[in-house]
Subunit: 203 residues, 2 copies
């Protein structure tokens, strides 16, 4: 083991620690204020602006990275949800795990909308979108979810009702304790075809 090798390893470990501290700080700052500045984030991370810019040359790259890390963490949680069995019960379980993630990261999403744009946000949502899509498609095949409207539209409804609930909670018009049940009750009805009975929320 050489002294030069030691130095390199120490520098790499420092860089990893700095990146983690910057991403943690960015998440904390952007969650409080979607317009939080690079200066705020560097200060919170305890690093200089030059160090921050060394890792993330633009604010957009930093927002992109923290958004990607947050989605990857969310994905680990959502991967544990059992999506087998009755598609309605599976939808209820997926909503129960999803809405709190959406609600917690409402301000971060606003930062991403203002910085990286809706096209890139959608790219980053590919895995959660595929999960919702697979469940809706199975529900349609099994005759449980409506087929008179396109799958992409039902996916949009899933997305909009979850994000709409986060907005209503933030505005003080929806009780956080009632949110999960309210979202499921809305989506189960919205996914029911004309001429069919709306089912109770399965629990």
């Amino acid at each position: 083991m050489t002294a030069a090798g030691d130095t390199q390893r120490r520098q790499r470990a420092d860089a990893r620690r700095n990146i983690a501290a910057i991403l943690d700080a960015a998440l904390a700052c952007l969650s409080r204020d979607p317009d939080a500045s690079i200066g705020d984030i560097a200060r919170t991370a305890g690093v200089g602006r030059v160090t921050l810019y060394g890792h993330f040359p633009t604010r957009a790259e930093l927002v992109d990275a923290v958004f990607a890390r947050t989605l990857a963490e969310a994905d680990e949680t959502l991967n544990t949800v059992d999506l087998t069995g009755d598609p309605r019960a599976a939808l209820a379980r997926l909503v129960a795990s999803s809405w709190q993630i959406v609600n917690r990261h409402r301000a971060l999403l606003q930062a991403a909308q203002r910085t990286i744009g809706s096209g890139r946000i959608r790219e980053q949502h590919e895995i959660p979108h595929q999960r919702v899509q697979a469940l809706i498609k199975r529900g349609r095949r099994e005759g449980v979810f409506r087929t008179d409207l396109p799958t992409t539209w039902l996916m949009a409804a899933f997305h909009n009702v979850l994000h709409g609930a986060a907005d209503e909670i933030a505005a003080g018009r929806l009780n956080e304790k009632a949110a999960g049940r309210t979202i499921v009750a809305t989506l189960l009805a919205a996914f029911t075809a004309p001429g069919q009975l709306v089912q109770q929320v399965p629990l």
Copy 2:
């Protein structure tokens, strides 16, 4: 009639014309690009920046004014919609008139979200919100719309499904010709209580 009076009247007429030209230009520019600058808008209006700033001291005041004028015009259209009779058919008529207004002004709404904020946007939406609220409340009293979820939540669903449709059209995932029927079919189902049959879209 004095020469001074003439001059004053001419100045007031000039000011009115300038304000109208600035608001027209702001609507055109912000509809193309929600981040359109004061310079772009002044150029399109054919007035100098000093003249524009004389009427609208900040970009936010200009966005606020063009948003208010657009909502007032929308309101004139929506006031002609017959909201009597079967609440479901009334909802279908209200959606048919509303969604195109929402769709046409999607970029202007984005400009407003970035500039004047969601609290002020909501204040400006008071009249359309009251219209939707009155219809939903009547539908609930008449046993047609669900009462297991709050009226405010059903109003949010109305808002989110309409705006979500505009996003889906902009992204090329929803056919503009199918949008009205798709929105109505989604809301009628979403507004149906558990244990009730979802009705066909009335036309």
